[in-house]
């Protein structure tokens, strides 16, 4: 695990090769993260994967988060591991809400084939479109489902349950 100065060093190295790709770094609760420009996130991932001395070549998880009401609202997280040193680093790409239009980001399936199903899952639940994905369809919800159920503004659904605090009172 790179420590706080270590993340800054990695950022400096990436900045030399792909200027402007990393927007910020964070080191929170002993977890290192690079906040990447969503347009250049593939460059960052490819650099981390192939750079001698770093080689974070295993994508252990790709997932999204909805930070509503923060702006930009969505984030795609890439959890990378270097399997020799067992070091982890996280890359975050923040995506703004574009209203009716779905947020878009480049697919990393060419770099990490394991991202195929995970990007479909992110698309399924958050409506984030991965450009260049070979088969971007719903994976867990039914194909004819309407809506992006893991977004924070998506209604919880189900049937309303009357609890004592929400009970309507008639005098």
């Amino acid at each position: 695990m790179p420590d706080a100065p270590g993340v800054e060093l990695i950022r400096g190295e990436i900045d030399r090769d792909c200027p402007g790709a990393v927007l910020a770094t964070s080191f929170d609760r002993a977890q290192a993260a690079l906040i990447a420009d969503p347009e250049k996130v593939i460059e960052v991932l490819a650099w981390l994967k192939d750079q001698p001395g770093h080689r974070y070549d295993f994508l252990s998880s790709l997932h999204a988060a909805d930070y509503l009401p923060a702006e930009p609202r969505f984030a795609v997280h890439y959890e990378l591991i270097n399997r020799d040193r067992v070091e982890r680093i996280r890359v975050k790409a923040m995506l703004a809400d574009r209203g009716e239009e779905l947020p878009e980001i480049d697919s990393c399936v060419d770099l990490f084939p394991t991202a195929n199903a995970q990007e479909r899952e992110v698309f399924d639940f958050f409506g984030i479109v991965f450009r260049g994905h070979p088969n971007l369809t719903r994976i867990l919800m039914p194909d004819d489902y309407v809506g992006w159920p893991q977004r924070r503004d998506f209604p919880v659904g189900g049937e309303p349950v009357t609890f004592t605090y929400s009970e309507a009172r008639y005098d």
């Binding site: 867990l140 919800m141 039914p142 489902y145 809506g147 159920p149 998506f154 209604p155 919880v156 659904g157 189900g158 049937e159 309303p160 349950v161």
Partner: protein
């Protein structure tokens, strides 16, 4: 067939009348009291059905550990109630135990399994989830399995103890034995929901069913016109 409702004494008198000629007097009375029980064919049939239920080998979620896995073990032993033969095919099964939450993607599959079962057939909603979605008040889970299929017995619990499942099973047996007719459409007054083969020699749908079919057909045609998809018909 109309079911005769008579007291045991009346039935015994009738049986005595039928036996008249072989025995006489006190002997005949005692013979009838000891040997003869009269009943109706439907009652015997339902008694046989209730005691030879074939459940479907089918599990949905965590409740499947309690049933049908647990209740067929030696400790709980569903065989005591004549239901130890779990069938792996819906065509051979009488009872489907909905053991767990039904997700909206699974619901059409469950319904299809139910439709493939032959009449008479019964459904047990086992556990809180299949009865009412339990704690899953969300987008992914059907809010109670009775939204899309008729349910005969609800067993509450999260999960229910195997004893509770067996109790529900015994309740179902009572229901089967107490009901003169076993078709679920008649049980739940669900006529007009039949699917039927069109074009067959005796395929006359009910007026309600044909109306619903025509409406569905029209809405599909409307959708096709809107989307510009070519019509199949």
């Amino acid at each position: 067939m109309e079911i005769e409702r008579r007291s045991l004494r009346e039935k015994q008198v009738a049986a005595r009348d039928m036996l008249r000629g072989d025995l006489e007097g006190e002997d005949l009375e005692r013979y009838v009291e000891e040997r003869v029980v009269t009943t109706t064919f439907e009652k015997v049939q339902n008694w046989a059905r209730a005691n030879s239920i074939f459940p479907l080998t089918f599990g949905l979620a965590c409740c499947a550990i309690e049933a049908p896995i647990s209740i067929v073990t030696a400790r709980y032993d569903l065989a005591r109630f004549g239901a130890e033969a779990l069938r792996a095919s819906p065509r051979q099964a009488d009872l489907i135990i909905l053991s767990g939450r039904v997700s909206i993607k699974m619901a059409p599959v469950v319904r299809r399994l139910y439709d493939q079962m032959l009449e008479p057939k019964w459904v047990m909603a086992m556990g809180a989830c299949s009865s009412s979605a339990g704690m899953f008040a969300n987008y992914a889970v059907v809010q109670g399995a009775d939204k899309f299929m008729p349910v005969d017995v609800y067993v509450p619990g999260c999960p229910p103890r195997p004893e509770a499942v067996l109790y529900g099973f015994v309740k179902l047996q009572h229901k089967i034995m107490g009901s003169p007719d076993q078709s679920w459409r008649r049980r739940y007054d669900a006529y007009g929901t039949e699917e039927w083969a069109r074009g067959g020699p005796r395929s006359e749908p009910s007026p309600e069913a044909s109306k619903a079919y025509e409406e569905a057909k029209r809405s599909v045609e409307r959708l096709r016109e809107e989307t510009g998809e070519p019509s199949v018909a």
